[in-house]
């Protein structure tokens, strides 16, 4: 049943609403912004003084991924690059989101919803360079798995 719904055009919108509810819950109850790079980065920051709630959130994220891989394996399917490139991309995302103080969740969803100038500028920039990256690596250089 879930996999039938996954194939429907409503799935992205419903998934988006679930993400919005998850972020709403964390703000309403814990008073925290659901920015994944910031929450996770705090865990490995020597200056961090509030690791327990961050760890709970990250464990929830990993656990949710695990449960969904059993219910909806199709959502985790395709790999698009080689292992080496995945590692390089992960390093770029780690450095970039730390410098920018946020990623798709913190800037793209939460910051955009509060009309933060920084978040709107960051979102426009990473979508822009994301498009450029796909164009250069997939179309010009034909990098892929």
């Amino acid at each position: 049943m879930l996999s039938t719904f996954y194939a429907s055009p409503f799935a992205p919108l419903v998934g988006g609403v679930m993400i919005g509810l998850a972020a709403s819950l964390l703000w309403l109850v814990s008073g925290r912004v659901a920015g994944i790079s910031g929450i996770t980065g705090g865990l490995v920051d020597p200056r961090c003084t509030d690791r327990p709630w961050r760890l709970s959130f990250v464990l929830g994220l990993l656990g949710g991924g695990f449960v969904m891989s059993l219910l909806l394996p199709a959502a985790f399917g395709t790999t698009v690059v080689s292992m080496g490139i995945a590692v390089a991309a992960g390093a770029l995302v780690g450095v970039g989101t730390t410098l920018a103080n946020g990623c798709t969740s913190g800037h793209g969803v939460c910051g955009t919803a509060t009309l933060s100038k920084r978040s709107i500028a960051a979102t426009a920039t990473f979508i822009g360079t994301g498009i450029l990256s796909v164009y250069v690596f997939r179309h010009l250089m034909e990098v892929g798995a």
Partner: protein
């Protein structure tokens, strides 16, 4: 109790939403960014759904003096668009387009034991640690402070 259960539930629901939306599949992200190929608008619909719900919550909670199970609301302190923000976002976008993962989907897919997502996430978390360590050192040379603001 709520201080730890609620973040777990939020993270869990966040991952479930990402999976239902198809955002844990890197080929869907690449297809969204591939405007000269077969464009997939899914990510835009995900943003519309998530931003609408969260914007309503933020409007509603403006009247609250504090969250239900914490002492204060904690948000970002920085207000200005600066070079560091734009450079970081630009670097992030390059990595995002390259592998089709951003931090949330990468960690959710790592939980789903995708080998590629585990490799990506490990490198990402190592880069978090390294960049923050360097930030901490630079901060000690200037005035120490925090990047978060409480109200």
């Amino acid at each position: 109790m709520n201080r730890f259960v609620v973040p777990f539930v939020s993270g869990f629901l966040f991952a479930a939403g990402l999976a239902v939306a198809g955002m844990t599949d890197p080929s869907r992200i690449v297809a969204f960014l591939d405007v000269t190929g077969e464009w997939d608008p899914s990510l835009m619909l995900v943003m519309v759904g998530a931003v609408s719900v969260y914007a309503l919550t933020r409007a509603f909670t403006r009247k609250l003096s504090r969250p239900l199970a914490a002492d204060c609301f904690v948000g970002p302190k920085a207000k200005a668009v600066d070079g560091r923000l734009l450079l970081g976002a630009a670097i992030f976008g390059v990595g995002w387009g390259l592998a089709g993962y951003c931090p949330g989907p990468a960690l959710a897919a790592a939980g789903a034991s995708s080998g590629q997502a585990i490799a990506f996430s490990s490198a990402m978390v190592a880069a978090f640690a390294l960049t923050r360590m360097m930030d901490g050192r630079a901060e000690q040379r200037r005035a120490p402070g925090t990047s978060e603001e409480r109200r």
